[in-house]
């Protein structure tokens, strides 16, 4: 059975060139990057080259890049590392659980947290950010692109508000990196999180941009790695992969590839909406990353649709992979104002660099008919359960 993968916001395949770049760093060039001998020198060089590539993708200097194990670590490191007891933090209701729970943890440690609502298109209102400022506000953390809907937040405006107030601004750019160009100077943020496995590098890799001069308290204590910001022997092969993936992403922007991605996504979206009635895009009208379409199919269970499509070879999801099997419907969709049944009827399609037009063709042939079949099967397929209650 031919499998089509349209769940790239959950994770992406490592690109062949990334894999090739990593290959020597397992058995041939295996040195601890901190060792002073030849073996360490060669892996140190590879790590620093990768750092340069990531810095280039984000528009910063190499010394401002801290390598991490991924987005969750990056968010936790930024949020817990920039804030102290007694400080106030402003965040939004649609952040990834990594950021939200890191903030909740701060509350338990004696910080105050304001969670801002979003509008029907999941957008944070910069005016709300301004209104939420307090004398003891230390950090604003608002994600750049939402993982479920792909909607882009007005981060530059928010950064300006932060700058005016003398407050730090962190943005979780895990779902934005590699999909839209990022220039940390233009944005004006003090910290920015990216994750390797969302940009075709391996799982277990990532980076945190920390603006020069910003005091960051490390989470991992030990050696002086990453300029004493993140102890632990470098995952050399992973970092090399991340660097290569960053390079590939930068080159893709230079070619304008993201426009082709958007065109494919739009074809998928338009094609589905044309064939399926009572369906709509969550986040419609807001600027989105070019690879994501979160579509609501009224009167069905998203969970059943995902399973039915998977059994036919098409991989999509109902929302963040982390919350699979959770009882509550997506906190993001609910924050946007969807009813729980609407949130549960939503499916996320997310394209990757490896997605081809044929994949879209297959998806367009499978989705409408599967939705139709699910709608045909009423919640009670047989006569009402007559022995149901004991009353």
């Amino acid at each position: 059975m031919r499998r089509i993968y349209l769940d790239n916001n959950a994770t992406t395949p490592v690109l062949p060139e990334v894999f090739e770049a990593m290959r020597p760093y397992f058995t041939e060039r295996f040195g601890n990057a901190s060792s002073i001998h030849h073996h360490g020198q060669e892996t140190r060089a590879a790590v620093e080259n990768a750092r340069e590539s990531v810095a280039q993708l984000l528009g910063c200097s190499a010394s401002e890049i801290v390598f991490t194990s991924g987005g969750t670590e990056g968010d936790n490191l930024a949020i817990s590392g920039l804030v102290a007891a007694g400080d106030h933090v402003i965040t939004s209701s649609i952040e990834h659980h990594a950021a939200l729970h890191a903030c909740k943890h701060l509350e338990e440690a004696g910080c105050e947290v304001t969670v801002l609502p979003v509008n029907g298109r999941s957008l944070v209102d910069p005016a709300d950010v301004k209104r939420a400022l307090r004398p003891n506000t230390k950090l604003i953390s608002i994600m750049m692109a939402n993982n479920e809907t792909g909607v882009l937040q007005p981060v530059e405006e928010i950064a300006k508000i932060a700058a005016e107030a003398g407050v730090l601004f962190h943005t979780d750019a895990v779902q934005a990196a590699g999909k839209v160009p990022i220039d940390v100077k233009r944005i004006g943020c003090h910290a920015l999180t990216i994750s390797g496995h969302k940009i075709h590098a391996p799982q277990g890799t990532g980076a945190l941009f920390v603006k020069k001069g910003t005091q960051l308290r490390p989470m991992f204590h030990g050696g002086r790695h990453e300029r004493s910001r993140r102890a632990g022997t470098e995952n050399v092969a992973g970092i090399v992969g991340l660097g290569k993936a960053a390079q590939i992403a930068s080159n893709a922007f230079a070619r304008g590839d993201e426009k082709k991605m958007a065109a494919m996504r739009d074809r998928l979206q338009q094609g589905i909406l044309a064939q399926v009635d009572e369906a709509g895009v969550n986040g419609e009208g807001a600027a989105r990353v070019p690879n994501t379409a979160n579509i609501r199919f009224d009167h069905i269970e998203g969970e059943a649709l995902v399973i039915a499509l998977d059994l036919k070879g098409l991989a999509v999801s109902t929302g963040a992979a982390c919350s699979s099997g959770a009882i509550a419907p997506s906190h993001v969709l609910v924050a946007m104002g969807l009813r729980p049944d609407q949130a549960r009827a939503s499916i996320r399609f997310s394209l990757g660099k490896q997605t081809v037009e044929e994949d879209i063709d297959v998806a367009l042939s499978l989705v409408p008919e599967t939705v139709a079949r699910l709608r045909e099967i009423s919640p009670r397929y047989s006569a009402p359960v007559k022995v149901g209650s004991q009353e």
């Binding site: 269970e301 969970e303 059943a304 399973i307 039915a308 998977d310 059994l311 036919k312 099997g325 959770a326 009882i327 079949r373 699910l374 099967i377 919640p379 009670r380 397929y381 047989s382 006569a383 359960v385 007559k386 022995v387 149901g388 209650s389 004991q390």
Partner: protein, 365 residues
């Protein structure tokens, strides 16, 4: 797939026979919800719907090479099984949640999910048999080969539609044979012990469960305290809540007399618990409500059958006939036993057998 031996072996058998099998676990109850409250056990390992059981089910699926999914139906389970369970006890009846789970979740919701994802049938690890009888033109539910594991008592509510889409591959096997087969398939769970209790009441203490559940819901335990009364109407003591009792119960009455006393009847209306000697526990009749008939379409004439009044009960010879109740005018079945039966309990089911064929069943009024 519950992560237990029976359903795991079914999956392995069907896969080996070449069927296109999909493994599904229904997440029905969050075991951590009430953990630690009101005397409930702190950690609940290895109970149905616990992480351990889902893990076991998933590993079996991976081992035999079938797709595996967990589908969440906690809301429906709470609404259609847990809530009624609590309410039944608070009304003085002794509920059977397993039958409700079968009726609403395992053979309703699960069949819906199956159809939605493109499957034709659902197979479970129940010890029962299903077969199509061409003469009658009906699907029949029958007792399994291993009568000691017979679960047909809990399946009396299955409709023709449901039975037509159900497979019970273990119906002709004994439990030891099933374990043996699990071993042959190399399943890690082959020696896993069976769970005997109600899946959402760890430790079996349903009174603690009711307390903890109501507390969690922010509801106070209704006051059903009342009098302990003899069969002749004499008040001999007090009780603290009718849900603490079940018909036939001897312990926990709080009164001592010369001879043993048993709970004879619980009245939700008057909040009285009527107690009496062993001889008062016997009755020759019961009324069954909301009856589901399987082997026949209607009960046009009285029929001689054998009736089980609880899971652990030897089917007793009886005559069943259709009656109409006043004032509701609802159809009920009157069961008249050849011999008086002990501790007929409202809330339990009366299931009618003709040999090993399940004729049907209903709830004891």
């Amino acid at each position: 797939m519950s992560g237990g031996v029976d359903s795991s072996t079914v999956a392995a058998m069907l896969r080996a026979e070449g069927h296109n099998v999909i493994g599904l676990t229904m997440q029905l109850w969050n075991q951590r919800r009430l953990a630690g409250r009101e005397g409930m056990p702190e950690s609940v390992q290895g109970r149905c719907c616990s992480l351990d059981d889902v893990y076991d089910a998933r590993r079996v699926a991976q081992q035999i090479g079938i797709p595996y999914y967990v589908v969440n139906h906690e809301e429906r389970f709470e609404r259609d099984v847990v809530r009624p369970f609590v309410e039944q006890y608070l009304s003085g009846r002794t509920p059977i949640p397993c039958s409700l789970c079968n009726n609403h979740l395992k053979f309703d919701q699960l069949l819906v999910v199956a159809q939605q994802i493109g499957a034709d049938r659902v197979a479970t690890g129940h010890y029962a048999r299903v077969a199509y009888d061409h003469d009658r033109g009906r699907w029949l539910l029958k007792r399994p080969a291993d009568v000691s594991k017979d679960q047909t008592y809990f399946l009396f509510g299955l409709t023709q539609e449901q039975l037509s889409r159900t497979l019970f591959p273990l119906g002709d096997m004994t439990k030891p044979e099933v374990r043996e087969l699990a071993h042959r398939h190399g399943l890690a769970i082959a020696e896993k012990p069976d769970s005997q209790e109600i899946c959402f009441v760890p430790g079996g203490d349903y009174k603690r469960f009711i307390d903890a559940y109501l507390a969690e819901q922010g509801e106070s335990l209704p006051d059903t305290a009342g009098e302990l009364v003899t069969t002749s109407g004499e008040v001999i003591g007090e009780h603290h809540g009718i849900h603490n009792f079940t018909v036939g119960q001897r312990k926990g009455l709080g009164v001592a007399t010369g001879s043993p006393l048993y709970v004879i009847q619980i009245s939700g209306a008057s909040k009285q618990v009527i107690v009496g000697g062993d001889e008062h526990l016997y009755s020759r009749t019961l009324r069954a409500r909301r009856v589901n008939l399987i082997a026949v379409d209607e009960l046009q004439e009285p029929m001689r059958v054998a009736v089980k009044i609880r899971h652990r009960h030897e089917p007793a010879a009886a005559l069943i006939e259709r009656i109409k109740t006043e004032p509701t005018g609802e159809d009920e079945i009157l069961v008249t036993f050849d011999q008086p039966q002990r501790a007929i309990t409202p809330g339990q089911a009366a299931v009618f057998y003709n040999g090993d064929v399940v004729v049907g069943g209903g709830w004891i009024a």
